[in-house]
């Protein structure tokens, strides 16, 4: 008899340490603090090349939960159109913007083929990159780029098919990189091996989970949304590893949050409660804050909004979208717009 379905492929725990850029020694690991809130409850803006967490977690993430001051995170998600455009033009266009802006996390979709990933590495990580493959995960490290760490995935589809195409660039300390492959629709969905890649992000006094994903294509899912519903279930399974911690999931979800009815509206309702958590979606929140009847489109020349930033807190603490920080304007030669927002995690 066959084994039950395997949800996670090699979800091995691995540390991805931020390479030291300066001679600053890492703080010595200290025993976990009590639940006493810190004296100052100021906002902490983290990320970017100049504000790197030098803290090296010696204890597990469970000891690091419970920060009182909100984390302020500048995040980008961007679909590079890599299924069609393999020229590297999008990477060349978006590279200077990200080098100048240095958001804490830059998450990508449709880096389906190795060359597309390497072209973006060259833009964001400089010339001296060390790459390491650990099962389903490929980690790139650099000391002289905009970002010090890039997490991507290794499985590819049959007959020269694509990989998952998703990647996370950051200079924050991350660990436990993992990939959960979606069940279905490798064919004809660009022959891709789609899924979700996530990391545990470690800051001085807290931990949260950040992930990026690319759902199956709705054009190949016209029956009843079953493939994308299966994608949502897979995210629910992924979220089991994030109990008790804030979560941010960004990416191309291939369903329209501005749909007023139909399969997409039903699926978005499922997304809105995935993992039995309460979520803030940046595009929807931006619409609320600005009195729009629907989120701004994230596709070039279209009306659909399908690139999302979901954030969820713990113990009833709701994340916030910082006012006037949501951007979905510039496509950088892609067919999607780059989506950027500043989220505050309590």
């Amino acid at each position: 008899m066959a084994k039950p379905r395997k949800k996670a492929r090699n979800p091995v725990t691995r540390s991805v340490a931020t390479p030291p850029k300066k001679a600053t020694p890492p703080k010595k690991a200290t025993p976990p603090k009590k639940a006493t809130p810190p004296a100052r409850a100021t906002r902490r803006r983290v990320g970017g090349p100049r504000v790197k967490a030098a803290f090296r977690a010696a204890a597990g993430p469970e000891f690091l939960v419970g920060a009182a001051a909100p984390l302020v995170l500048d995040i980008v998600t961007f679909n590079t159109h890599g299924a069609i455009d393999k020229s590297g033009a999008v990477q060349q266009a978006v590279g200077p913007y990200l080098r100048a802006q240095t958001p804490s996390f830059a998450c990508f979709q449709e880096l389906f083929f190795v060359g597309e990933r390497l072209a973006l590495d060259a833009q964001l990580m400089g010339p001296n990159i060390v790459r390491e493959v650990l099962g389903d995960i490929e980690i790139a490290r650099s000391n002289d780029g905009t970002y010090s760490t890039r997490i991507a995935t290794t499985p590819t589809g049959a007959f020269g098919g694509a990989g998952a195409g998703i990647a996370i660039y950051t200079s924050m300390l991350v660990e436990n990189a993992r990939f959960i492959r979606f069940d279905s629709l490798a064919f004809p969905d660009s022959l891709a091996v789609k899924g979700i890649v996530g990391v545990d992000v470690i800051t001085e006094d807290s931990s949260f989970v950040l992930a990026t994903t690319h759902f199956n294509d709705n054009e190949n899912d016209e029956v009843d949304g079953r493939a994308r519903r299966s994608n949502i279930r897979a995210i629910g399974n992924f979220l089991a590893s994030a109990i008790g911690r804030p979560v941010i999931i960004v990416g191309d979800f291939n369903l329209d949050s501005s749909a007023k009815n139909g399969v997409d509206a039903a699926l978005f309702k499922d997304l809105d409660v995935m993992g039995n958590r309460v979520w803030l979606e940046a595009g929807l929140e931006n619409a609320r804050q600005n009195g729009l009847a629907r989120p701004v489109p994230t596709l070039v020349g279209g009306q659909r909004s399908i690139d999302f930033m979901f954030a969820s807190g713990v113990a009833g603490a709701m994340p916030r979208l910082a006012t006037d920080t949501y951007l979905a304007r510039d496509p950088f030669a892609s067919d999607h717009k780059l989506v950027r927002a500043t989220l505050e995690l309590a």
Binding site: P188, N220, R226, A227, P295, R329
Partner: protein
């Protein structure tokens, strides 16, 4: 335990495993009624046809390998042009095909597997055992339930005294539980429509002689607009966004992009 008891237990366990395995794995299955027609060439010369009806259970497995299998049964009648009776006998066969590459909604899937069966030929007045190895490719119309499944097969045994053969069989099937296109449902959106909110339309009509286009409720600080990719003036019209698009040639269509709230809405502006 007696041998009979052990056999019953073994068969029951096997059937239970086959039944539960795909359901535990989250399989998607289809029940298909098929019509078969095949022709095979014998190694020693000549050939004969067969046609019949069958049932196939086609399922997806959400494990890496195998990705799916088909269990089928078919009843064939034998067509023998050289025999005394053209309809010379019948056979009942079962098949078990597997695939290593299949997805829930795959339109094309390759299968490989054996079929075994028993039959009777009037020409030889003998029952016979038949074994086939089938390589099949399945073409499915997900929404309409129809499928076509050509099968190349090599056979051994059979009606006419131990021949070996190769043949081609075509199965035309109909999945009684095929996928359904759903009518738009009435699930309310997460973001309810708010009266008075800015909602630029995908397209709009504006008289060719008009010089301004008003977008209700859409004036915001830092709002701007492009006409054909170039900046055009905008102003506050009592909370509405007034865009100076200028007069146009009657019948023209203009592309307007409204920039508001960190994003942009494309609008096709027809100028009748």
């Amino acid at each position: 335990m007696s041998r009979l008891g052990a056999g019953v237990l073994s068969i029951t366990t096997g059937l239970l495993a086959v039944t539960l395995w795909p359901s535990l794995a989250g399989a998607t299955d289809f029940h298909v009624i098929e019509a078969h027609d095949g022709y095979e060439l014998h190694r020693t010369g000549g050939g004969h046809g067969s046609f019949g009806v069958g049932y196939t259970w086609d399922t997806l497995l959400t494990v890496s390998i195998p990705r799916g299998f088909e269990l089928g049964a078919r009843l064939d009648v034998l067509h023998c042009p050289a025999c005394e009776h053209k309809i010379d006998g019948a056979a009942l066969l079962g098949s078990a095909l597997v695939t290593a590459w299949k997805d829930d909604l795959s339109a094309i899937t390759f299968y490989l597997g054996p079929a075994v069966g028993l039959g009777y030929s009037a020409e030889t007045d003998k029952p016979f055992l038949e074994l086939e190895l089938q390589a099949a490719v399945q073409f499915r119309l997900i929404f309409d339930g129809l499928w076509i499944r050509p099968m190349l097969f090599g056979g051994a045994g059979g009606a006419y005294d131990g021949y070996t053969s190769v043949g081609l069989r075509l199965a035309v099937g109909y999945a009684v539980n095929h996928g359904q296109r759903l009518a738009p449902d009435t699930t309310p959106p997460v973001l309810p429509h708010v009266p008075g909110a800015c909602d630029p339309p995908p397209s709009a009509d504006l008289a060719a002689s008009a010089v301004s286009w008003i977008v209700p409720n859409c004036f915001r600080k830092n709002a701007s607009a492009h006409l054909g990719g170039l900046d055009v003036p905008v102003s506050d019209h009592g909370g509405d966004l007034e865009i100076r698009v200028g007069a146009a040639t009657p019948g023209a269509t203009q592309q307007v992009e409204i920039f508001v709230a960190g994003g942009s809405f494309p609008v096709q502006l027809r100028r009748p």
